[in-house]
Amino acid sequence: MSTCHAFKSNDEALTMQRSNAWQPSATMDVLRQRAALLAAIREFFAARDVLEVDTPLLGQFAVTDVHLDNLRTQISGAAQPYFLQTSPEYAMKRLLSAGSGSIYQLGKVFRDDELSSRHNPEFTMLEWYRLDFTAAQLMQEINELMQYVSDAPAAVSISYQQLFIDQLGVDPLADDAVGQLRDALSSYSSLADLVHREDDRDLLLDLAMATVIEPQLNPKQPTFVTHYPVSQAALAQVNPEDPRTALRFELFYGGLELANGYQELTDAGEQQLRFERDNQRRNSSGKLKAVPDVRLLAALEQGLPDCSGVALGVDRLLMVLLNQSEIEKVLPFAIDRA
């Protein structure tokens, strides 16, 4: 565990202002490797005829995800606030519905309340959508991208359920998953107090994933975790073979969560329901409701083609490739120098 030091104490901050805060967070060598990575990603997609797009970062609609928060801003003369996008997903899906074909976006996104040695509130995301790809086909393409930009070994896959059974002896899909999770997690002294206070299944699953399971994944082995519980489907299709799970996957490598992907939900009615469910959960956890993006819903009604999509954290990929444990070491200027 390393200390979060993106924001320094006042004394440190003053010292920095006098001395070296104007200087980059990363070395010039790292910045050259960063540029090479961005160039290699564009080459990879150009060779596959995937169209680069750059959708707006300022949008009228915020994300409804319970655990994501947009930064909010105001444009002079505009009646409503604008939101810095947490991912280009909604706008990219509108392009897909308008007939763009397969597309990718490589650019900045913003998230409030995310600051640590592995989080910067502004970061670079690679997000792409492949028409007629299943989740499995998209994972294969992610693997090929990883091979193209690094000497990473081929990724392995394990289901979310199997991973929890192997690492924690808990079946996350069982009817008594909450009891199993509380029993297993309360044996960790650093978690026991929290586990004692909480009985929400998704919270306990997230706690187990972030503090017990993720740290045990082999950092030298890119690993896809597939078939997340349907309660964590986000914008993924429900798995037709086991409706307790969704066609959602994540990629872990180098001790970091690198990518999150879906075989995309295309049903406008179901999307509307998920927006409403998200907002109920936001409400009960004391957060502001997000106005559902009606333009995304209209696009889905028009028809989102069958596709799979994934978002990959480019700064984190660079951290793994360059063996850096702090995100600021791969950014031109981290938030404390922005």
Partner: protein
């Protein structure tokens, strides 16, 4: 005492945990991209000195601890309590054996110590980094050893035992680093 939200957590913040005032040593957020964020926190319990790890749901609040450090001059020990005084206000505070702990062997009258108060009561006493104490007992040793190699144990007036160079004799005053318990130098009287 005010409550603190996890997003106010930082090293040095004093919070209550397990009924004991604690200082945050390290704070790190972990968060599955689409999931709940947590703060993993290393805290030092200020009475027992134990360092433990705790995990909080980000956004939760924790009770703050009314803990402050004050610099006070050591006066005397009455057999049960050690008495300290604020040299500006002349206000006195008595610390018990539990609060004084290991600092007892470094207490020199009129030296300024840092006393940690919880709800106004002393819970720990930290001596100055360097103290000067007289040697009451040590082996006469060999004359002529000036390199300071080898060394020998010496008992100080407070009962502390430190290793000193062979040439240092009974009755001399030496300077000791209280953080390591090591001899620094002789002091000219």
């Amino acid at each position: 005492m005010a409550n603190y939200s996890t997003n106010e957590f930082k090293a040095g913040l004093k919070i209550m945990q397990d009924g004991e005032p604690c200082a945050i040593v390290e704070n790190e957020m972990v968060k599955p991209g689409k999931g709940q964020a947590f703060n993993r926190v290393k805290i030092r319990k200020l009475i027992s000195g134990k360092v433990v790890e705790k995990t909080f749901k980000s956004g939760d609040s924790v009770e703050g601890a009314d803990v402050m450090d004050v610099d006070l001059a050591y006066l005397y020990n009455d057999g049960e309590f050690w008495h300290f005084m604020n040299n500006e206000t002349f206000e006195q505070i008595a610390a018990d054996e539990k609060a004084v702990g290991d600092a007892v062997k470094w207490l020199v009258e009129q030296d300024t110590c840092t006393i940690t108060l919880w709800d106004g009561n002393p819970i720990t006493v930290a001596p100055p980094n360097f103290v000067e104490l007289e040697i009451t007992e040590t082996d006469p040793g060999l004359k002529g050893d000036t390199a300071g190699t080898g060394g020998k144990p010496a008992t100080l007036i407070t009962g502390a035992v430190v290793r000193v160079p062979l040439f240092v004799q009974i009755g001399e005053v030496i300077k000791v680093d209280t953080r390591t318990g090591e001899y620094v130098s002789r002091v000219q009287k």
